[in-house]
Amino acid sequence: MRLDIVVCVKTNPDLQMIRIKNREPVLEAIPFKAGDLEKNAVEAALQLRDAAGDGKVVVLVVAEGNRKVRETVKEVLAMGADEAVLVVDPALETTDQAGVAAALAAALQKIGSYDLVLFGEGSTDNYTGQVGPRVAEILGLPQVGYARKITAGGAGVLAERSMDESIETLEAPLPAVVTVVSEINEPRIPSLMNIMKAGKKPVEEWSLADMGLDTAAVAPVRSILSNLAEEQDRKHIMFEGGAAEQAEAFVNALIKEGVLGR
């Protein structure tokens, strides 16, 4: 069986590296990397491709410039994806989830033939969960969210997903859109050899115009009025010594705080 899978991967600032200055996030000099859940999606795609025995995994990335995208693409190609398509256009600088979805959908149409399109349940930085369902609607594809197990076979895909109060098994005909949660797998760490090979894999780069989209299609429909860190004022008291001393000092502090011993 042949399975062609497109994985939509976002490049994110490394959130752990973000500093907050005057309640504003400082993004300068922050490295970019592939989204966490998208790595789960790539891993799932690789496993599905290998189980099917034939087919390819194409990574699809939308961004305003290719500077920060390169590392991300290399990262997931090194995991074992076969090729990459980058949609790069300065008009995407100010876009939002609706615009990204429009660009992804246009790219999928240009790619033409695929069996599955995988997304993260949410992106690492925005975590809106909007992009996957919007793409599914634009392309009129069936959609399965929050998959924690996927198997493909016959004409369809079988996915187990975890909802608020239930576990569901859904069956969707192909092609289908599936979003994954982190429990689905542990993404592989690329070997040195695969990292070297990644540089030779085919990477295409398209502008919006290449896909027949004009910039109005990605104009943002939401405005961000402010984006500020919540203020935190913490005591930062560290207890030294052995475990027994630390425990004693901590419990005494809790008594003094009035948390204990009331």
């Binding site: 996957g132 369902p133 982190s182 901590f250 502090a253």
Partner: protein, 315 residues
């Protein structure tokens, strides 16, 4: 007159949103419509009592199982019939995958995981976490129709007032979903209310094995606290998803949050930042959790936690 349309598959959330919609609609000169989709719901009367002027009720067979594509299509048709320009949904898992699909159908902008919704002048301003929880963004939508998926328990539910909304049977044209529900089983797991807990112990991947969750449980018992965990730990299957704190879990506000073997990545700490006191046990003195801690213990949890349990039992 335009309407605010409210829907959630969860009755409690639908009632909460309806009450809020009534307040907003009053200020905006709008009406309130609510939708009840699928069979077996008795929500219509209650929605009316909480402020819905019209309740659109349908048990169209295509809605069996509430497949997201059909639910979105049904709501789009109801929204058009009701002349809705604002749609309020709950940001449950089902609601969060529904909202963007519906928004796309309506040519609408959408904000999900909304943590507050206020009217400023004549504009609705929604807040949500951004940058993984590093910041809170205030967002507005520029489209004519606007979809907001609001975190459950964001608003108070007021007292019902007698008086029923008008029950409307919408004229729907729906196709069954191509996605088949093969099986649905209830999640096992004990119900836990972390949102309202006064003391919480959180455990993370610093634990070496599943059995050691017991250590966390003992510590929680000694402290009179609820036990919670990181997503990292829940992904191992060691504790249920309903015990996750953070961006994709509970947002808590206890008097004391004690974290054990948790690194303190932003997606977790966003759920504890409203704690009055934060304490942490971690072997790594540079773990980010200490930047957020009032009290820090650098040490091995396998030594510190037993010592803590013993000390707590003596007070």
């Amino acid at each position: 007159m335009a309407d605010i349309l409210v829907y959630s598959e969860k009755q409690g959330a639908a009632l909460e949103l309806t009450f809020k919609a009534k307040e907003l609609a009053g200020a905006m000169g709008m009406g309130v419509s609510a939708a009840v989709l699928g069979s077996g719901s008795d929500a219509a009367g209650k929605l009316g009592e909480l402020g819905a002027d019209r309740v659109y009720v349908t048990d169209d067979p295509a809605l069996e199982g509430l497949a997201v594509d059909v639910t979105a299509e049904a709501l789009a048709q109801v929204a058009r019939e009701a002349g809705a320009t604002v749609v309020l949904l709950a940001s449950t898992r089902r609601g969060k995958e529904l909202a963007p699909r519906l928004a796309q159908k309506l040519g609408a902008g959408c904000v999900s995981d909304v943590s507050s919704l206020t009217l400023e002048g004549s504009t609705l301003v929604a807040t949500r976490y951004a940058f993984g929880g590093n910041t809170v963004a205030a967002e507005t939508l520029d489209t004519e129709v606007k979809v907001f998926a609001v975190m459950p328990k964001t608003f108070e539910i007021g007292a019902p007032t007698p008086g029923a909304g008008q029950i409307v049977t919408p004229a729907l044209a729906l196709q069954p979903s191509a996605v088949k529900l093969v099986e649905r089983r209830a999640k096992e797991g004990d119900a836990v209310n972390l949102e309202d807990a006064e003391r919480i112990v959180g455990i993370g991947r610093g634990l070496n094995k599943r059995e050691d969750v017991e250590l966390g449980r003992e510590l929680a018992a000694a402290l009179g606290a609820e036990l919670s965990c990181t997503k990292g730990l829940a992904d191992f299957g060691w504790l249920g998803e309903d015990r996750i704190i953070g961006l994709s879990g509970a947002k808590t506000k206890p008097e004391l949050y004690l974290s054990v073997g948790i690194s303190g990545q932003i997606q977790h700490t966003v759920g504890i930042s409203s704690s009055k006191l934060i304490a942490a046990v971690n072997t790594d003195k540079d773990a980010p959790i200490f930047q957020l801690a009032d009290y820090g213990i650098v040490g091995d949890l396998y030594e510190v936690v037993p010592a803590l349990i013993e000390k707590l039992k003596s007070v």
